[in-house]
């Protein structure tokens, strides 16, 4: 009963050997016997999860593809950014920083700062839903602290809220890897996109007309940021407020006509 039907064909792949056509010249030496080491036996039984070499290979592959700040910003800028954050608790633009006995005025663009700041970008898989349905849920939690958002979504009966909850939970895992405190994360941006390749169906109508039913597929994308960003924005806004001119009731401009103390007619 233990015999199985043979599913694979039994061809021999080695070629026919002419051992003794030309005497000793063509005589094939005995194939060297490879001693079976213990490690080889172990690797056979390893599950892919425990296979260190494979996991390392995969990790390198993923890391090479991943978008990280070190691929887009020069090392000096990164170093200066870190020093700045160390000094101020968050990044303050246009400050003078001493690095290796040199003074640098660190001024970064808004996009550079966004790349350097601790953020996590999340992408969902393909979801069978529509943009309209997703937007309702997205508006609900946009700007929330991640943990409160998960809490709220967990008890929301909508399908999209469970999908979003799953996505945010992966965000928490990423935060652990990155060393960002979970409680400090908040949803800075959250949006839906069409996932393309929608299945279409005919919708027969009266009077020989046809409509099209779209089976919509979407994905969610989300940017999480930490309180560091919030503090920076607060600081920048306070600077803006300080730079504002004092309010005047009237227009504070020179008159654009000649004002002379006598009649001109």
């Amino acid at each position: 009963m233990n015999r199985l039907p043979q599913f694979t064909r039994q061809f021999s792949l080695s070629f026919r050997r002419f051992n003794n056509v030309f005497g000793e010249i063509t005589q094939i030496k005995e194939t060297p016997v490879i001693p079976e080491t213990e490690t080889e036996v172990e690797t056979k039984d390893l599950s892919p999860k425990d296979d260190k070499n494979l996991q390392e290979f995969y990790l390198n592959e993923v890391k090479a593809k991943a978008i990280t700040e070190d691929k887009f910003i020069t090392p000096l800028k990164r170093e200066l950014y870190n020093l700045n954050v160390k000094q101020n608790g968050f990044f303050k633009n246009n400050q003078i920083i001493n690095h290796q006995n040199k003074n640098y005025k660190v001024s970064l663009t808004e996009k550079e700062i966004e790349l350097l700041e601790p953020t996590i970008f999340l992408q969902s898989g393909r979801i069978k839903s529509s943009m309209k349905k997703a937007t309702v849920v997205n508006r609900f939690v946009r700007g929330f602290n991640v943990k409160t958002a998960i809490n709220q979504l967990h008890f929301n009966p909508k399908k999209m809220s469970t999908e979003l909850e799953k996505l945010l939970k992966t965000g928490l895992e990423h935060a652990k890897v990155k060393g960002i405190h979970e409680d400090k994360l908040y949803i800075q941006q959250l949006w839906v996109g069409s996932d393309g390749e929608w299945r279409k169906r005919l919708d027969p109508k009266g009077r020989g007309r046809m409509g099209i039913i779209n089976h919509k597929y979407i994905h969610l994308k989300c940017i999480l940021k930490s309180t560091e960003t919030k503090r920076r924005l607060e600081w920048e806004n306070s600077l803006k407020d300080q730079a504002k001119k004092p309010k005047t009731g009237l227009i504070n401009q020179p008159l654009n006509f000649r004002n002379v103390p006598f009649y001109k007619w």
């Binding site: 009963m1 233990n2 015999r3 199985l4 599913f7 599950s47 892919p48 999860k49 494979l54 996991q55 995969y58 990790l59 592959e61 993923v62 890391k63 991943a66 978008i67 990280t68 700040e69 691929k71 887009f72 910003i73 020069t74 996009k111 966004e114 790349l115 953020t119 996590i120 970008f121 992408q123 969902s124 898989g125 393909r126 979801i127 992966t170 990423h174 935060a175 890897v177 990155k178 941006q189 996932d195 393309g196 390749e197 597929y217 994905h219 994308k221 940017i223």
Partner: protein, 294 residues
Amino acid sequence: MFSNSLIKGKNDLFGRICIQSVRSIHYKENHKKYPKVNIKDVELDKPRYGFRRDRQPLLSQSVNDTLFSGEVIKEKYKEAGKPVPIKYRSNSDRIARRNLELFADQVANGEPHFKVGEKSVYLPTARIRLLRPNAKHTPYQAKFVVPRNFNKFDLRDYLWHVYGLRALNITVQLLHAKFERGLNDLSRYRGPQYKKMTIDMEEPFIWPELPTEASKFAKSLEDQREIINNKNGSGSDKNRLDEKAFDGLYKKPTVPEKFISKNYKKIVDAKMESYTSKAALKEEKDLVSKFLNF
């Protein structure tokens, strides 16, 4: 009118009962006629069980150690001079006992336990197939796929004459085939019906377990299909990583990423390229200047 008695019987229970019934009674109540009840005798929470009369057990209940009890019960009723209940008046138990004895004889003598069919088939062409049992079957049951023109008697004869197996009871299941899709069009059609029969046997039979290789092979086919589906996925499914196939052989780890817009990426890539080329050039220049002692 009641005020006197009210005052008089203010303290006893009876007086209070009178007061309660003032509104609904249109005649003068005589307290002597009222049933006298002692509060101690009243049982407020009556038990709902155990107060019924215990009856003698039925005569039929006393017989519980014989296989076909009908005959014994009938005798008992007759002895007691009571009418036999309708339930026990038939001869079915007697017949059943007679059949059982007959069956035992047939088994002992190696004879068929049924009336053998009259049509003699010397080379039976019918093909019957023993199936693995479902969850609902006992080891004393066996299921066969049989030709559609088979009936219960055919199978009984067949099993007896070919294998010497006694089918004690046979049930038939006539089943429809699954729908199949055509290759070139959207049509679907059904194959022919097929017939299964389940028999009861004297002795149990348990199938040997499947070899582990078989289940492994089936699993590998499933895994292959899953991976192909994943690779052919559309949209965001293309970068899906949660593959369980082949013990997670294709599952890749995830790395936290940052967001960068397409346009900005173009700009920054160009900047970074120029930076790296400059850095490389600088290294070379340094080397040359070191060599020339500048």
